[in-house]
């Protein structure tokens, strides 16, 4: 069982994702954005940060990195891909997930613990949770407001593809309180909150640990 954590220039949650994967009992490796070799990893993580300085739009430049070709192939093969925060933005820009993430409604960068409800257990990253379970995880973003057209939002809900929703306090004005979604194949998940920063009680919460533990089970390793 192996995680590949992609590093872009400006990634800053790569070490946290790496540590969370190891804490879940998996092996982990870093893959530089210029590489197209995922080194046989079972799970790919696109970590948080400010890839390419968020120039133009968050994730807009990163999505043309060579590594994204390998990530797209990994996703197309039905294998697990997790995009956290900036990684979620990259997945949306790359068209691997629908919709987009834009400037927070309140304009301010929000950095605090929020309550996030698990809406579905039918993804590799939430299979170890109960639907309806509320997790404490931090958010840290300036552009985390999830938007999509009404038809897309309706479809996401109809197909049980809203994976996480803000429970109560919506920190960024995301449409329908959406904090995370999955693709049609249910193997690609993106979310704005940081489960990798909530993997032990000393960090304020360990509610995010099972995101990484479950990926191990789903990959069948």
């Amino acid at each position: 069982m192996k995680f590949a954590v992609v590093r872009f220039p400006g990634s800053n949650c790569d070490a946290d994702a790496f540590a969370a994967a190891e804490a879940a009992g998996a092996a982990a490796t870093y893959v530089w954005h210029r590489s197209t070799d995922l080194e046989g990893a079972d799970v790919v993580v696109l970590p948080g940060g400010f890839s390419y300085g968020d120039y133009l739009r968050a994730g807009a430049i990163a999505r043309f990195s060579p590594v994204l070709r390998a990530v797209a192939a990994h996703a197309a093969a039905g294998r697990p891909v997790l995009g956290i925060c900036n990684g979620f933005q990259v997945l949306c820009e790359a068209g691997l997930l629908p919709g987009a993430l834009v400037r927070n409604a309140g304009l301010a960068f929000v950095c605090r613990q929020v309550a996030v409800r698990v809406e579905t257990d039918a993804t590799p990253f939430t299979a170890r949770y109960r639907p309806g379970q509320v997790l404490r995880m931090p958010v840290a973003h300036g552009e985390g407001r999830y938007v999509a057209d009404e038809a897309t939002l309706d479809r996401l809900e109809r197909e049980d593809r809203v994976v996480f929703r803000y429970a109560g306090d919506n920190p960024n004005g995301a449409m329908r309180d959406i904090a995370g979604i999955t693709n049609e194949g249910r193997n690609v998940v993106g979310l704005m909150p940081h489960p990798e920063r909530a993997v032990e009680a000393a960090l304020g919460s360990d509610d995010g640990a099972a995101v990484f533990a479950m990926a191990a089970v789903a990959a069948g390793v």
Binding site: E93, A100, R103, G106, L107, D149
Partner: protein, 85 residues
Amino acid sequence: MRRFRARVRVMPRPSLLDPQGQAVAHALGELGFRGVAAVRVGRTVELTLEAESAEAAREGALAMCGRLLANPVTEDFALDAVEPA
């Protein structure tokens, strides 16, 4: 090859909340400017292009808008006149 300058204007979709525009409108009001009904904030991208003709430069710029310069989910773009640089 000749050089052309193309200016692309990228604006958030009218249907989307534009908090930057709202904040600027509020600040203008605070400064005493009256009659500001609405403000929207977008971005301008200036491209200097090498191409055989203005038409070719224009086609190139449009392709760049669709691929990278604007996000079709959240933004509209307009390509202003393409002129010799």
